[in-house]
């Protein structure tokens, strides 16, 4: 269950990364399809990151002398990560809901109070979740996994950006 929720959060986060990476690059007025594609692309790139994290977890468990203990530790770390990431995601969903209300002021408030500041603090939240999870089971395996997850979460936008620079995506 914990893994499933983490996967869902990672997918949503990656979709938003795709959106942010595409935003401010098209000056057309009607951009629904453009943003839909960008979010889908982000979510798909996110799956690659999830697979990398999954392979790392599998290897760590296979190489562990106490695999059952490691699984318990990773679950403990994962559940603590959720304590940080779930509230953050709920605020983002609240902002998305506010954006659906047909009021320019409410939509702007959603941006001013949630989307803007929460985008700004996202790197801090990402690090906080991983550190908080690591502290549940501080050992080499969780440290290694934590570093890989951090790299993936913070680097995904840049990777998508590189694809754009190299004209692989438009």
């Amino acid at each position: 269950m914990i893994l499933l929720v983490l996967w869902a959060l990672a997918t949503v986060d990656a979709a938003f990364i795709g959106y942010r990476e595409a935003a401010g690059r098209s000056a057309l007025i009607n951009k629904r399809a453009y943003y839909r594609n960008a979010m889908t692309r982000g979510a798909l790139f996110g799956q690659i990151a999830v697979v990398i994290a999954g392979i790392t977890i599998t290897l760590l468990i296979l190489l562990s002398s106490e695999p059952a203990k490691l699984v318990d530790e990773l679950q403990a770390a994962g559940s603590r990560m959720l304590i940080v990431y779930v509230p953050y995601t709920l605020f983002i969903f609240l902002a998305v809901a506010l954006r659906a209300v047909p009021s320019v002021d409410l939509q702007s408030i959603a941006s001013v109070l949630i989307f803007g500041p929460f985008t700004f603090i996202r790197p801090i939240i990402v690090v906080a979740g991983v550190v908080w999870g690591f502290l549940a089971a501080p050992n080499l395996a969780t440290l290694l996994l934590g570093v890989i997850i951090l790299t993936l979460m913070l680097g995904l936008g840049r990777v998508i950006g590189k694809f754009r620079v190299n004209k692989i995506i438009s």
Binding site: A23, G24, R25, S26, A27, L28, I29, N30, V104, D105, Q107, S108, I109, S111, V112, F115, G116, P117, T119, F120
Partner: protein, 311 residues
């Protein structure tokens, strides 16, 4: 974070790296060293560093690079406008103005000209959303030919029936019934602002609506945060923060409008959110001929609560 300490005085980078002859609108070369020197003399090292990175051609800033940079900056700016529903805001204020003019039997089409339209986001949005009516003609005017080319290109892609011209908005063959602008007022300082408003004093012009940043204690920090997370170009970030820092106060705009365009009744719209002591990002200077005042106020409906005293 350095952007938070930008000196209030001095031009934005986008103003400094491009120059036009105000009469012929011909583009003039801009000497890179002079621009850098100017920013350094103003204590704006950040701007100097940004200009330093722009390629030069024989000592002058490369015009093609400058054009590309400004188009990119406008694209990023449009993203902010979209986020804050600026097109809808403009439409909501233009509708009561247009209805007031229509009910007085004004000649059709009613021409609206966007001053300093850049890549024409507002004009294109208004046309794309068809919110103003078919008796309205929308024109965007800007000195910058590259921005106008881009505006035309974008309008063509989406088949939007609007025009964009490289021109002084006040010197068009057919003057506007309504002049609008977004984010240009703070570029005009002192007498320059008075001269801008004086240009509204022509018989055909019935109203004007100018949107610009509203200064507040939190505006520089808020602007910095938003530009940090939303903009990629250092120029966009710098100019965005500087715009908020040196925005005109409502009373200064109103005073300048009343002094320079005394034949209009003017007011500031939308300074506070829902009447609470929460400042909006933008405030709006609205001016209209006294003949249309009553109709305009009637058509404003509930929005009248956000309108200052119109006199």
């Amino acid at each position: 974070m350095r952007l938070l300490t930008i000196p209030r005085n001095g031009p934005e980078i986008s103003d400094a790296i491009i120059s036009f002859d105000p009469e012929t609108l011909e583009r003039k070369p801009v000497t890179k060293a002079e621009v850098i020197r100017e920013f350094i003399s103003l204590g704006n090292e950040t701007a100097a560093r940004i200009v330093e990175k722009i390629p030069e051609r024989g000592g002058t800033l490369d015009p093609d690079t400058v054009d590309r940079l400004l188009i990119t900056a406008h694209c990023e700016l449009q993203r902010m406008s979209e986020e804050f529903q600026h097109g809808q805001r403009v439409a909501e204020l233009l509708m009561p103005l247009l209805n007031a003019l229509r009910s007085s039997g004004i000649e059709k089409p009613i021409r609206i000209v966007d001053i300093g339209c850049g890549t024409g986001f507002v004009v294109r949005w208004l046309v794309a959303n068809g919110s103003l009516g078919k008796d309205v003609e929308l024109i965007g005017a800007d000195y910058n030919a590259a921005l106008i080319r881009e505006a035309k290109r974008l309008a063509e892609i989406e088949r939007l029936p609007c025009s964009f011209v490289v021109a002084n908005a006040f010197r068009l063959d057919h003057p506007a019934a309504i002049y609008i602008s977004t984010g240009i007022l703070h570029h005009f300082r002192g007498q320059g602002l008075i001269e801008l408003f004086k240009q509204h004093n022509r018989e055909e012009t019935r109203a004007f609506v100018h949107f610009d940043f509203q200064p507040s204690p939190l505006a520089p920090l808020g602007s910095w945060l938003f530009h940090a997370v939303r903009m990629r170009e250092p120029l966009s970030r710098h100019d965005g923060v500087l715009s908020a820092v040196r925005a005109h106060k409502s009373r200064d705009l109103l005073e300048a409008a009343k002094t320079a365009a005394p034949d209009f009744v003017s007011a500031i719209y939308g300074t506070r959110l829902w009447g609470l002591p929460i400042p909006r990002v933008f405030h709006t200077l609205v001016g209209i001929r006294p003949d249309y005042r009553k109709g305009f106020l009637e058509y404003m409906g509930n929005r009248i609560a956000s309108l200052g005293l119109m006199e």
